[in-house]
Symmetry: C2
């Protein structure tokens, strides 16, 4: 049996989610824009999902813009807001996901764009310093600010509300990528004080292909995709009804299960980290508030990629970096921003726990890891 | 039993497609970017689907860029190509789907854009006149040309290859939206002589949430969605694995079933149109080559919207216009471009047949329609 410790990359669809989706592939397959009964059933299903998503983060259904994924939602905010605002400055944290970072870089590179990109530094625990952020916001007077709620690699949680307050005071539009935080810690739109927030289904036991940009209704965004005027003109294209239905149910489940899951998962993570420290591991972001499920560590001298492959063969799925950037291997920009020694950064491995994991799996993992790590150390000594 | 005559809006997922998709929601739920076994299984599934899609239109797998839908693929071509080319002129047919038309209009409206938009007129059958198109291309020397292969409302097929030849001769990049044609008539990328072509899964018994831009490998496009660099850097975001797998199988089925389906469906359409003509209907696009499944007609004096509602109650799902623009009701821009009298255009109803339909359904429909139409005529006379 393969044990899955890579829930920050993606999750399996929950039984209840799949059950809710299935009717919409065949029996109720209508296009929500059709005016006949089949269309109306599909439209109602999308509306219900919109209510479920909205309810899970405390907003009105009209504030939910469905997209095909978190990357699209993040790009919709950044490019969409930039399409409306006068080019000024955009501030993002140095540890953003590539879909925020590269969208921001693109604004700064744009032929016509006078957007200036400023990255907020993080400390060696991966935290944006709120005082630094204040300073940057006051100095730059940005039009746009985007700081993620929790990092996909380290799990480190940022004080988004504090940064949002300052951004608002300067008249900036504030966004947070809450894709990794949602379902792992409570996420409430109003408390975060942001203008916009990104959620994704497939990180919370929902399907791939559905996500949302949650928006303050007063924001004006230029669409990425023009066409039939779906999603209030912000995102054209036939709605992915089954995926949206699944997203709605996943949000409902996330809300009801969060407390129970969090306690159980935090206990497992604590056990893993005790074991790792005994093996001489360095744990990244240890000094900061982190998602309860994420453990990002390095065993000095053992390359992360090698360890991932060996653990995979031994039956454990873990990640050597963010899955999304595995397409473009290279050093983690997150660890680089934290000032981690590149030699140590090459040893980074991420464990991200989820609802299907058990303490027995954790104990097995620690035993396996100690054996594998010992073997790899021996090999590297021979190699020298 | 409700009879579905609205296959140009969307189709039910085929049993074989759903069977192929199901394992990827739970058992094989991995992120294709993950380096462990679960990730590799998902990557292989995406690769296989890419081969199936490529094979169905005679291209190499590397020419397939997966997107979340046809609207996204059409926008990716138009906005993406415009992002690379010097702004000049863009030519589209007057009967394009809103996701091509509005993307083109947006280029022309863009603050920095010097793109000029030229619409190709159609005749009263909905055909672009190739001689007119030649003239426009020669005169305008456009950078971009997009002409759909078959229209979603009328089913009218354009001579894309003839227009593409002229566009190429002028150095323009030529695109065709083949979303409605694919699966209903043979579609071969090379024969169409285009640089890029859009396909969508949910019109061919595949799932919503998967589509593709088929591209000449020499094209350079600016992405709509930046991030982890998926799809060769052209479309970032975790792949929607189940939907992509379903798309692949749907393409395979489309290829094997096209001849059989086409003949059967053409016969049903012929029967419907004989019946309609007997009832005094006008059939739009009758003089042109059309998709075998589409019948767009008007019973003079009977409003399309009213007829759709009455037929829906009587158990038949048909459309009063393109489903995608039902969000924004108003006169069909397609019929307007064809020079159809607005009074007659308001009576337009579309029937689009599919693989699940039978001649018995067609006969029942004609009987029902004659009764319903008679009732509505009586009512409108009373109203006068």
């Amino acid at each position: 049996m393969h044990v899955y410790f890579d829930h920050n990359a993606t999750t399996a669809v929950d039984d209840a989610v799949l059950d809710a989706m299935l009717p919409y592939f065949q029996r109720e397959f209508g296009n929500p824009s059709s005016r006949h009964a089949r269309g109306m059933v599909a439209r109602q299903a999308v509306n219900r999902a919109r209510e479920q998503v909205a309810d899970s983060v405390g907003v009105q259904p009209a504030q939910v813009v469905f997209t095909s994924g978190g990357s699209e939602a993040n790009n919709l905010f950044i490019q969409g807001a930039a399409g409306y605002l006068k080019p000024t400055r955009i501030i993002v944290s140095a540890v953003e996901h590539p879909c925020v970072m590269r969208a921001a870089q693109e604004l700064a590179r744009n032929a016509n764009g006078k957007w200036n990109l400023r990255r907020l530094a993080v400390d060696d625990s991966g935290r944006v310093n709120p005082a630094d952020a204040d300073h940057a916001v006051m100095e730059q007077q940005p039009g746009l600010v985007s700081v993620m709620l929790a990092n996909n690699e380290t799990g480190v949680i940022q004080d988004v509300a504090a940064i949002a307050e300052k951004a608002r005071a300067c008249g900036a539009w504030m966004h947070t990528d809450a894709v990794q935080a949602f379902g792992k810690i409570p996420v409430d739109f109003a408390s975060l004080k942001v203008h916009a927030m990104t959620l994704s289904a497939h990180k919370v036991y929902g399907p791939k292909g559905a996500a949302a940009l949650i928006m303050d209704k007063r924001l004006l965004l230029k669409p990425l995709i023009y066409g039939g005027g779906h999603e209030n003109g912000l995102r054209s294209g036939t709605e992915n009804v089954p995926a949206i239905v699944g997203f709605g149910v996943a949000c409902e489940l996330a809300k009801t299960r969060i407390a129970e899951n969090t306690a159980r998962i935090a206990a497992m993570r604590a056990r893993i980290e005790r074991g790792l420290v005994e093996m001489g591991a360095v744990i990244f972001g240890l000094g900061a508030a982190r998602l309860p499920n994420t453990c990002y560590f390095a065993l000095p001298g053992i390359e992360g990629d090698t360890l991932v492959v060996r653990l995979d063969k031994a039956g454990f799925a873990v990640a050597s970096g963010a899955a999304c950037s595995s397409v473009n291997p290279g050093q983690s920009h997150v660890l680089q921003a934290m000032g981690i020694d590149p030699m140590l950064a090459r040893c980074a491995v991420r464990i991200s726990l989820g609802s299907g994991n058990s303490l027995a799996q954790v104990e097995n993992f620690l035993q396996t890891l100690s054996v594998v790590a010992e073997e790899l150390k021996q090999m590297s000594m021979v190699a020298i």
